[in-house]
Amino acid sequence: MTSLLKIRHLSKRFAGVQAIFDLSFDVTQGAVTSIIGPNGAGKTTLINMISGVIHPSDGDIRFKGKSLSGLKPHQVAARGIARTFQTVELFGRMTVLENVMLGRHLKSRKGLISAAFRLPGVFREEADLKARSLSVLETVGIADYASLKAANLPLGEQKLLEVARALASEPQLLLLDEPAAGLNEVETQKAAEMIMGLSETGVTVILVEHDMKMVMAISHEILVLNYGAKIAEGPPASIRTDPGVIKAYLGDEESGS
């Protein structure tokens, strides 16, 4: 088992708030690694640091042996890391298909000059891009909505579209930030099956999720954060019985909730 992502002594301070504190962990290639913890534990901060949206105050993130430090989000994406957002971030005025085509932005090459003068190959690339994007929509099961405006989709389908867009880039590492938030039980079940299917095709997944049933069912590895620090790490069976985790979730005299 090789680790695709290595995080070492990672810290992030926001104006006096310690969002992440001296965090180290490895993500195994091909596995589903879930990050759980109470609200404000630093889960989304961690996702944002991996994807280059914010930069760590300290420590290092290495992907396939190479440091991601100082890279901008589009450069992180070019390394093979795709993500979704906690609150849906779609290209709302564009069609469902166009959203997925944009997911393959890095897989296509034609630039401004060849597009402006319609140099040879532009049509072929567009047609190919469209066909491949449609097949991604079929995989996720929303191909029927291809020509609809993304903003007009129901929330469940919007969440799926975000996953489809991320998958279109054929990422090696997929960061999913609460994919089940706002979904009903049936939809959550579908999302869980999809994530398991992805992991079987070799995509490494980091999942941030509050739905414990889903997390316990599909994770190979779970990382528990509380106040920005790691309090437990291990397979679902050991996390379930970890006294520190139970305390963090159920609360004690000091933390109140």
Binding site: A82, L106, F123, E125, A127
Partner: protein, 328 residues
């Protein structure tokens, strides 16, 4: 795939129809009037359309405002004028030089301003426009200062001098239709899609690997090059240049062309350019009140149709369709 091809063919058909319409127009004018007055105004519509198309790409597709398009217009005009009169170069070289100069300037101004989020480009271009205007006025040895200079030669094609208004009409509209074709190609392509994506969500655009700064700078450079091309055509058509046509008010007028025509539509830029070029001519009979009427008309359009003439037109077409469907 068939859908894709038909979409592209539709664009080409629209452009061809438009080109035929424009080609026939001088003959329609000629039938009703002996004068070439409308043909003359239409040359300015072509020139204004080119510069407005650039700003339309920038504003409608990258969501950025430039208040300095007149500076690129001026750079093109002065590059053409100075190189042809002082160095005796071919007008074609002058046009090229203007476009290259504008591209470089747009890159230099755009890169720092577009790195930041927000409307820093508007401020940077406002300053840039003012500096360029001051240079036109003060570098008297080169630009002739406030009184400008004339005797700019006409453009020659295959040894044929394009000096008549009708000849220049066809030249300017060939350029304007070419710019329309290029702009629509950009809009309907990978880079155009990336620009629209940035407009919708910068966060998501970056996450799919779009280099936001690069995409915005690229399109700003394109808008600068269009501006310079328009300026060169102006210089060779009027054959005399001085600073006033390249001041901040012209930059604002170009912005109005785009907004009145319809932000987010290249065709809108052409409509807006036509309206804002013809309107002052039509209102000239009102003498001192023309500015007032001009303002009222523009304000009315913006108030009743925030998406401009293109939005107004598509709503009217939809209404007529609905009426037909209901069987009236």
């Amino acid at each position: 795939m068939t859908m894709l091809l038909s979409e592209k063919n539709q664009t080409v058909t629209h452009i061809l129809c438009f080109a035929l319409f424009v080609a026939a127009l001088p003959w329609v004018f000629g039938l009703s009037r002996a004068t070439s007055y409308y043909t003359d105004v239409m040359v300015f519509v072509a020139i204004h359309s080119i510069i407005a198309a650039g700003l339309s790409l920038l504003l409608g597709y990258a969501g950025q405002i430039s208040l300095g398009q007149a500076a690129f217009y001026g750079l093109g005009a002065y590059a053409s004028g100075i190189l042809t009169t002082r160095l005796g170069l071919s007008p074609w070289l002058g046009i090229m030089a203007g476009m290259v100069l504008a591209a470089g300037m747009a890159y230099g101004v755009g890169l720092p301003a577009l790195r930041l989020k927000g409307h820093y480009l508007a401020m940077a271009t406002l300053g840039f426009g003012m500096i360029v205007y001051i240079v036109f006025n003060e570098f008297i040895g080169l630009t002739g200062g406030p009184s400008g200079f004339g005797e700019i030669p006409s453009i020659r094609i295959f040894g044929m001098e394009i000096s008549s208004t009708l000849g220049f009409y066809y030249l300017a509209w060939t350029a304007a239709v070419g710019v329309l074709w290029i702009s629509l190609n950009i809009v309907h392509s990978r880079p155009g899609r990336a620009l629209r994506a940035i407009h919708d969500s910068e966060k998501a655009a970056a996450a799919v690997g779009i280099d936001i700064t690069r995409a915005k700078v690229q399109i700003f450079v394109v808008s600068g090059v269009y501006g310079a091309l328009a300026g060169s055509l102006y210089a060779h058509f009027v054959t005399f240049i001085n600073p006033p046509p390249f001041d901040i008010f012209f930059s604002i007028k170009v912005l109005m062309m785009v907004v009145i025509g319809g932000v987010g539509s290249i065709w809108g830029a052409y409509l807006g350019a036509a309206l804002l070029t013809f309107l002052p001519e039509w209102l000239a009979f009102m003498e001192d009140f023309d500015v007032l009427a001009y303002g009222i008309i523009l304000l009315t359009i913006v108030m009743f149709s925030p998406d401009g003439l293109v939005g107004l037109g598509s709503r009217m077409i939809n209404r007529i369709r609905n009426m037909k469907n209901r069987g009236y």
